[in-house]
């Protein structure tokens, strides 16, 4: 006969919160949470009280007022008519941009420097040691200032790219006819995409998926049979193939796709040249990154029509400014033109007419390069392309080099933590140094 004793009943006692390890961590977290909330509340209360003593209210209403100042480096539409909140958004996005760019380059620099510091080549290893020690121990701000000073003092002015009237030789010239390093920023080509550019993203996704599958297959195969299938070249082929296919597919559509010009204050059936003659210098609504917009502007240039490009981030911003008369010429797909012209005409409050000009342009291939060009005008010597400002470059380089030095040390530590025996074992199996690095370490 067995007596069954009941297991001791699990009553919960308050002291368990402190003495029972199952609950203790929870207790600590809850207490910490309340302390933090309390601390924040105290700070807030303190701020409000002190501001009230100064005759002010704690108010963020100013965020929704017109800012009145301009910002040159921006990733979203912003003008001095925008709000302070918008300016803050521009700032946050710029910070994120530097962070992302910095992360990528710092990782690349760090990994390379970390591996090279362990190189058997004495010079390479010492050079990397010098890099790491120098950058780790000098304040970041100094590097930013130094790099910025080098860029703004050392590089030629944009004006120096204009050929001299007498000799026809400029004192500075573009690298590969595409990149101009100046003390106002670096002008680089900007890729512009035709309508349907989303196909590129699809192609990119397909290519990445295919490459991943290929490598997975190769690895499985190697683990099963020891046979090594080369993956580098096929991956490249898949990537290039997919992008090329997308390019041809989009180009087939866009190359002959006709664009029409919608013009403010024009008469129906007028040609571009006639309109230009009547209206004088034209403010062209240019959409950033749009191939159609780029082709249209190229047409204006080749037809010698006096114009100025006003840049917008999106069609909606451009349309809004068109209605206000800030830009007067808008290139759009010929099929959509009548509908858009009608909407724009409705939105315009004044007497101005909106008409579709008789001149049309082809949209052009899927990707075109908007190259920086030398204009010969002293005030705006280089137009087109994209400017990477020196402030951004200085911040980006300095952050990358500085953080890279720390990453290099982490990488070196990671490699050194793998016991030497393992790499020696790999070497004795006849693996080459490159493979030891990628497979063992």
């Amino acid at each position: 006969m067995a007596t069954i004793t009941d297991p001791p009943s699990e009553t919960f006692r308050l002291s368990q919160l402190v003495y029972d390890t199952r609950y203790r961590s929870l207790t600590i977290q809850v207490v910490a949470f309340f302390l933090i909330i309390g601390g924040l509340a105290w700070l807030y209360q303190n701020t409000v009280q002190n501001l009230a003593d100064l005759g002010r209210t704690f108010d963020i209403g100013f965020l929704w007022e017109r800012s009145g100042y301009d910002i040159s480096q921006r990733l979203v539409e912003y003008s001095n008519d925008s709000t302070h909140a918008r300016a803050a958004l521009v700032g946050i996005l710029n910070t994120l941009l530097v962070a992302v760019l910095g992360c990528i380059t710092a990782t690349v620099i760090g990994v390379i420097a970390g591996v090279l510091r362990l190189s058997n080549n004495w010079i390479v290893a010492r050079l990397m040691a010098v890099y790491v020690e120098a950058f780790r121990n000098i304040p970041l701000l100094l590097w930013i200032l130094l790099i910025f000073a080098i860029f703004s003092e050392g590089l030629p002015r944009p004006r120096d790219f204009i050929p001299d009237a007498g000799t026809g030789v400029a004192s500075a010239s573009k690298l590969f006819e595409a990149v101009a390093f100046t003390n106002q920023g670096t002008f680089i080509p900007r890729p512009v995409f035709a309508e349907g550019a989303w196909l590129f993203w699809v192609a990119l996704a397909v290519a990445i998926g295919a490459i991943w599958a290929l490598r997975r297959f190769a690895r499985k195969r190697q683990e099963a049979t020891g046979q090594i299938i080369p993956t580098a070249l096929p991956s490249l082929a898949i990537f290039v193939g997919a992008i090329l296919a997308a390019y041809l597919l989009i180009s087939a559509q866009s190359r002959d796709n006709e664009l029409a010009f919608i013009a403010l204050g024009a008469e129906d059936g007028q040609s571009l040249a006639e309109y230009s003659e009547a209206a004088g210098r034209l403010d062209f609504c240019r959409i950033r990154g749009s191939g159609g917009s780029f082709s249209a502007q190229t047409h204006l240039e080749s037809a010698d029509i006096p114009h100025r490009a006003v840049e917008y981030f999106g069609t909606r911003d451009a349309a809004a400014d068109f209605v206000r008369g800030r830009c007067v010429l808008y290139a759009v797909d010929a099929e959509d033109a009548p509908a858009l012209a009608a909407t724009l005409a409705e939105d315009i409050r004044g007497e101005e007419t909106v008409a579709i000009l008789s001149t049309t342009v082809a949209e052009g291939p899927a990707i075109q390069a908007d190259l920086p060009t030398i204009t010969g005008i002293r005030l705006t010597p280089i137009t087109g392309g994209m400017v990477v400002r020196n402030a951004l470059i200085a911040l980006w380089f300095a952050l990358s080099l500085y953080t890279g030095a720390f990453i290099a040390e982490i990488v070196r530590a990671g490699i050194m933590s793998v016991s030497r025996g393992q790499s020696e074992a790999a070497a004795s199996l006849g693996l080459r140094p490159g493979r030891i690095m990628s497979l063992v370490v």
């Binding site: 501001l51 003593d53 009145g68 100042y69 003008s79 302070h84 002015r157 106002q184 005030l379 705006t380």
Partner: protein, 344 residues
Amino acid sequence: MKRTVCLGTVAAISLTAGQAMADAHAGSTLAEVQERGTLLCGVSTGLVGFASPNASGEWEGFDVAVCRAVAAAVFGDPTAVEFVPTTTQTRFTVLASGEVDMLARNTTWTFSRDVDLQQEFVGINYYDGQGFMVPADLGVASALELDGARVCIQTGTTTELNLADFFSVNNMSYEPVPVETNAEAQQQYLAGACDVYTTDASALAATRATFEDPGAHVVLPEIISKEPLGPLVRHGDHAWGDIVRWTLNALISAEELGITSANVTELAEAPTDNPEINRLLGTEGEYGAMLGLSQTWAVDVIAAVGNYGEVFETNIGEATPIGLSRGLNALWTDGGLLYSPPFR
């Protein structure tokens, strides 16, 4: 403008402790200054002619003279001043937190600075306007030809906002190159990192005077704003505000009445035929006592720095490298705008 408000607010939060101390002394800035033995005067970080240290490290300039005048009025000693360099971003916070007793830092008198930031502008010592400076070889003759230019602009100033307005009103585009101080602007401008430098016309002239080749740069004819510059103090202590205000007025009145640093001692020895001179120099009435100062406060001021005209001529006048003409800053009797309320 609003941005400065916001920055000021943020800074005010972080400086609440200092503010509380300043508040405790509110109403007795004069007593505080006298106890300390020196005047703390906020000036710019360095603008030749207005406020900059000379070769021997002594501050001198048009704005510095106002500080020295106030020190002379309070202590009878124009050297009893400690100069605190402030940037365009920090100036109001520094004043509001009580780190300085007054600002004489080519600061524009505007509604929001007076009312919202709670400063008290005691008068105008320079009537200015915003101008543009470009290299002569840029081939620009008017500000209306600046479409597409890169413009160096000091952040947190009224000029930053005027600039945006000017370009958008004239349907032109520009790219701002933000700088913190005049020195940084000068470096960027000379390196060619910006095509145009814009700030108050007087500061442009002062900056240009320090260039190696001033003739290679032109100040464009357009003046796009009104920039009345003047010394300011904190809201709340009206007695102290009165001292700074009437020191400035004494400088202007002295010029009008023909009192100079050369003849002031002589004129102050005995009452003259002109009762207004007598009231100003303390040989009649109790005007010094009303301010809480000595009877000869104005004599000390004028003996120390001279009258307004002398201050102007020695620091920024036509005989100096800066070479500004009096223009709007002539006395009202000479067709200018300078006009002091009477000493009565």
